[in-house]
């Protein structure tokens, strides 16, 4: 019990006044000589005790009345979550706001919410009207006030918790709008929610509070501090050459509770099977830990994966939906290589790319994952670079600005670039246009010896040390790997000594000059070979090491499959798919829980709003409807995954007063209110006690009057009321 005016309690001292009066009164009896004292005494035996008892009762009643009055002045009230105000008996308009956001899936919160809603609906009087809205929906289920109880109950029983985030403040404002249409005297909002901080706006600037009392009913069981873990992110990337199919899946696990959690099992599940697991020993309260899992996928095509917490029961994590994250990744079959020939020749072996093309695609009959396409520098503009994984420029003199920009963008987006030198290369043009890509700026060509120079064996240099740990050169460290070092080099391009960021030397000449350099430019990689890839400046193409080096370089440079830049969808988001050229009439999207959407493209686009988390597959529905979903018409490139919104994982209770800007914008109104119909804010409803106390004061005073009044007066009054005659006493 609390008091609005606790200072008035000092008035309790006044309760001593009746006691003092009682003590004084005892001494104030009037002396009365009386002859028939003997007879009086005989009559008094029964009555003496009652006199004393009556005096004490009188005193108690007076003290009680004073104490009750003082208490009433101090305005006591109780905080109660039960609806027990006298205002409840007035016809009421009630808008029930039920939180159906993702966090309500926690444990049995949702069943608690529906139970509570059922009870509240039962408590409605026939003359009350009500509406029912939810936080995760922007309309309905009963968006207008109605007094049809059956309709409300049906809507309540069909409610289900959603997997989307909800906005409690917006729902309250909506409830306020609904209530403003009512003309009943008593209007209020009842919010049934878990009141979690997750997804709640941190700033409340510019919001206007609703003008109605808001009763808040929490479904939490006391101070629930059970841990909640969530997989908050998954990223994946292909490691090494695409052909190896090695993937690294990196997941982020966050601990949303306020205590550390130990022994978290993180599983990677691909196509329904657990393929890898990791154990996180301990995760601090509020901390996020990244967990990387390696996985090798054989074969090409679409793969659906899930990273999930494998032991939620052991961890006592009761919100299951955020314990997993879905993702979709595609295995590429081939690496497309675009070879730009700066010095083509009709004589095959003199062609700049003669050796390279054969190294990448050794024969018509043999299968290779590398698919070379050769163009001239002029033809480069006609090619869509995005379709290629690697571009190799061999002895290209210069590129115009447009092509240079295309190339720069290509690399930034993850493509690989291999630049080989040659006599035509214009160093200045390269530095100017491709400077941001080159591992080091070019200076000039250094000629060591002519081919026919007899002193050539002395003057020339050879390939020297290599970066042995680099994926490309790892195999040259193995037995028989020295073939690279046997290559002779007559000329090479000298480079400026500056070292741009992310630039490393992979291979050097024996004279110390760099031979092969790598630079990472955002998502892409660039190799710069300071000599030629034909026989112009070196005999490297003739060496046995050439073929594996080129192939490994192409695979290494090839665009990596990665989750970066992928669209990430949360439940409730609108997914737009571009099906131009893939399906004209019909698109079928299938998802978890046997969901099936049949969509008609409009201007080449289809849109849908996935209601649950999971992997979704897209099919071209051009064929007959029954046989439409076959492997042949599956659109792997459009497959997508949908996950639950992250913000709902934070189950921390809302801080006190967080809702105040929406439900209590006018403190004065509350102060001036009558205390019953205008109460707002607070986690519970305020139940005022002083009207009852004042009633009790009145009762106590009435009783005091009755007990204090002389019985003779009462008897006389009674006789008057009942029309009895006064009894005569005869002598």
């Amino acid at each position: 019990m609390s008091f609005l005016e606790p200072l008035y309690l000092a008035g309790l001292l006044a309760a001593a006044v009746p006691l003092i009066i009682h003590l004084i009164n005892r001494r104030k009896a009037v002396h009365q000589p009386f002859p028939a004292l003997k007879l009086l005494r005989e009559s008094d035996r029964k009555e003496a005790r009652s006199l004393k008892v009556r005096q004490w009762i009188l005193m108690a009643l007076r003290i009680l009345a004073v104490a009750l009055l003082v208490f009433a002045l101090a305005k006591p009230y109780l905080l109660s979550d039960a609806s027990a105000g006298s205002s409840d008996r007035l016809p009421s308009s009630v808008v029930f706001v039920v939180d159906d956001s993702l966090s309500m899936h926690h444990g049995d919160w949702w069943s608690a919410a529906t139970d509570r809603l059922g009870r509240e609906l039962e408590a409605l009087k026939p003359w009350d009207e009500a509406a029912l809205i939810t936080t995760a929906r922007t309309d309905g289920p009963v968006g207008r006030l109605t007094n049809e109880k059956g309709k409300l109950k049906r809507a309540a029983s069909s409610l289900e918790a959603r997997q989307t985030a909800g906005s409690l403040p917006n729902a309250i404002l909506r409830a306020g709008d609904i209530l403003s249409t009512s003309e009943l005297p008593n209007r209020r909002i009842v919010v049934i929610s878990d009141f979690t901080a997750g997804g709640f706006p941190t700033s409340a600037s510019g919001v206007s509070a609703v003008d109605y009392p808001v009763r808040q009913i929490s479904v939490r069981e006391g101070n629930d501090t059970r841990p909640n873990l969530a997989v908050t992110g998954v990223s994946y990337s292909q490691q090494g050459p695409a052909r190896e199919g090695r993937w690294v899946v990196r997941a982020e696990i966050e601990n949303f509770s306020d205590r550390p959690v130990e022994d978290i099992e993180v599983d990677l599940r691909v196509e329904g099977k657990v393929v890898a697991s990791r154990l996180v020993d301990e995760l601090e309260a509020g901390a996020t830990r990244a967990v990387s899992v390696n996985h090798t996928v054989k074969g090409a095509g679409l793969r659906r994966g899930v990273v999930e917490i494998g032991n939620p029961d052991a961890l006592d994590d009761r919100l299951d939906l955020d314990n997993r994250r879905h993702f979709t990744f595609r295995m590429k079959k081939n690496v497309e290589v675009l070879l730009v020939n700066g010095a083509p020749s009709s004589v095959a072996y003199r062609d700049e790319l003669y050796f390279t093309v054969r190294a990448l695609n050794p024969g018509q009959t043999s299968e290779s994952s590398l698919v070379p396409t050769v163009v001239t520098p002029d033809g480069l503009a006609d090619k869509t670079l995005e379709n290629f994984d690697v571009i190799l420029m061999a002895n290209v003199a210069r590129l115009d600005e447009a092509a240079s920009e295309q190339l720069r963008q290509f690399v930034r987006d993850g493509g690989g670039l291999f630049v080989a030198m040659g006599d035509q290369v214009e160093a200045d043009a390269y530095n100017e246009r491709l400077g941001p890509l080159l591992p080091k700026p070019l200076r000039r060509i250094k000629r060591l010896a002519q081919r026919d120079d007899p002193d050539a064996p002395v003057k020339i240099t050879r390939i020297g040390a290599s970066e042995r740990t680099h994926p490309v050169f790892r195999i040259f460290d193995m037995p028989g790997g020295q073939a690279l070092q046997s290559a002779r080099v007559y000329k090479y391009m000298l480079l400026e000594p500056t070292t741009p960021e992310e630039s490393t030397v992979l291979l050097s000449y024996r004279d110390g000059a760099p031979a092969l350099l790598e630079r990472r430019v955002q998502k892409g990689r660039v190799f710069l070979l300071t000599t030629t890839i034909d026989r112009g400046w070196t005999d490297l193409p003739l060496r046995t090491a050439f073929l594996p080096m080129m192939r490994r370089s192409m695979l290494y440079l090839a665009r990596r499959a990665t989750s970066e830049g992928e669209e990430r969808y949360a439940v409730g988001d609108v997914v737009k798919l571009d099906v131009t050229g893939l399906a004209d009439r019909r698109v079928v999207v299938t998802g978890p829980e046997s969901l099936r959407f049949v969509l008609e493209p409009e201007e080449g686009m289809v849109t849908l709003k996935p209601p649950v988390a999971g992997a979704y597959t897209v099919w071209s529905g051009e064929g007959s409807s029954e046989a439409s979903e076959t492997a042949s018409n599956r659109l792997d490139g459009l497959a997508f995954s949908v996950n639950v919104p992250l913000q709902e994982s934070n189950l921390t209770p809302l801080s006190e007063g967080a809702l105040t800007p929406w439900i209590d914008g006018n403190d004065d109104a509350e102060e001036a209110g009558d205390g019953t119909s205008n109460q707002r804010a607070g986690a519970v409803e305020r139940l005022n006690l002083w009207p009852g106390l004042l009633f009790a004061v009145t009762l106590a005073l009435l009783l005091e009057t009755l007990v204090g009044t002389r019985r003779s007066v009462l008897r006389r009054l009674w006789r008057r009321v009942t029309f009895q005659d006064e009894p005569d006493i005869e002598v």
């Binding site: 009037v30 002859p35 028939a36 009086l40 005494r41 009559s43 008094d44 009555e47």
Partner: protein, 297 residues
Amino acid sequence: MADSEDGYLDPGILEELGNMQVRARRLVDGVLAGLHRSPHHGGSVEFAEYTEYTPGDELRHVDWKVYAKTDKYYVKQYEDETNLRAYLVVDGSGSMDFQSEDAELTKLRYVSFLASTLAYLFLRQGDAVGGLSFGGGERNYLPASSKKTHLEDLFFMLDRLPTGGTTDLGDALRTIAERAPSRSMVLVFSDFLDVTEPELNLLRVLTEQSRDVAAFHVVDPAELTLPYEGLRIFEGLEGEGDLLADPDDLRANYIERIREHMELVETRCREGQIGYHRFATTQPIEEVCLGFLRGRQ
């Protein structure tokens, strides 16, 4: 003189009158006016008997011849004298000294007026009147005499009745039984508040000994109704201590109790052939006298 409407004297006015004789005379005038005829029947002067002398007897009635023979004083009694000897027994205990707001007189004053009126009447018709007052352990006895001057003695006694102390009606009645001859009249004036069964029996014994006994039961109106309000400390008038009580709590029981008591006294008197007269101190005294005299006719 402001008389009350029915021609009786207001007790308050009576109190203001001068000495007892004036008051008694005024009262008797009223009584006689009410009777319309004199109760005087004339008397015989024939010798009736001798009685032993007691102080107060007239010396002229002493029979000296008998004295010469027997060496004892005997007084000659004549027929007219033996016609009626009345003894006024007046209770002067503490409880009689009570006067409520409604009453003009204390019970004691009231009965003394009443007794003096009756004494005057008796003497006026030649009857002998004696007196006995008691209260607080004190008893004053006056032998019966029909001399006119005896009235002074009676008035003196009634004017100076003892006030206070306990009631000892039993002792008084025993004294009367010893002193009053048979066929005499005994008038007992009391509030009978402390009267007990043995005392009521004594009254009956007096009747059985051929005496004409009448009980004058005086009551103050407050004793019947207990009209007080508010917390009171009731103090007994005969040293019974006091009682703190709210009259409202007691009234019903008390009224029932005092009614029972009065009925008991009345019943016992009626059973013993004793004339019983109950009256409140607010009643005119003449009315009480007339009631008594008419009862006797």
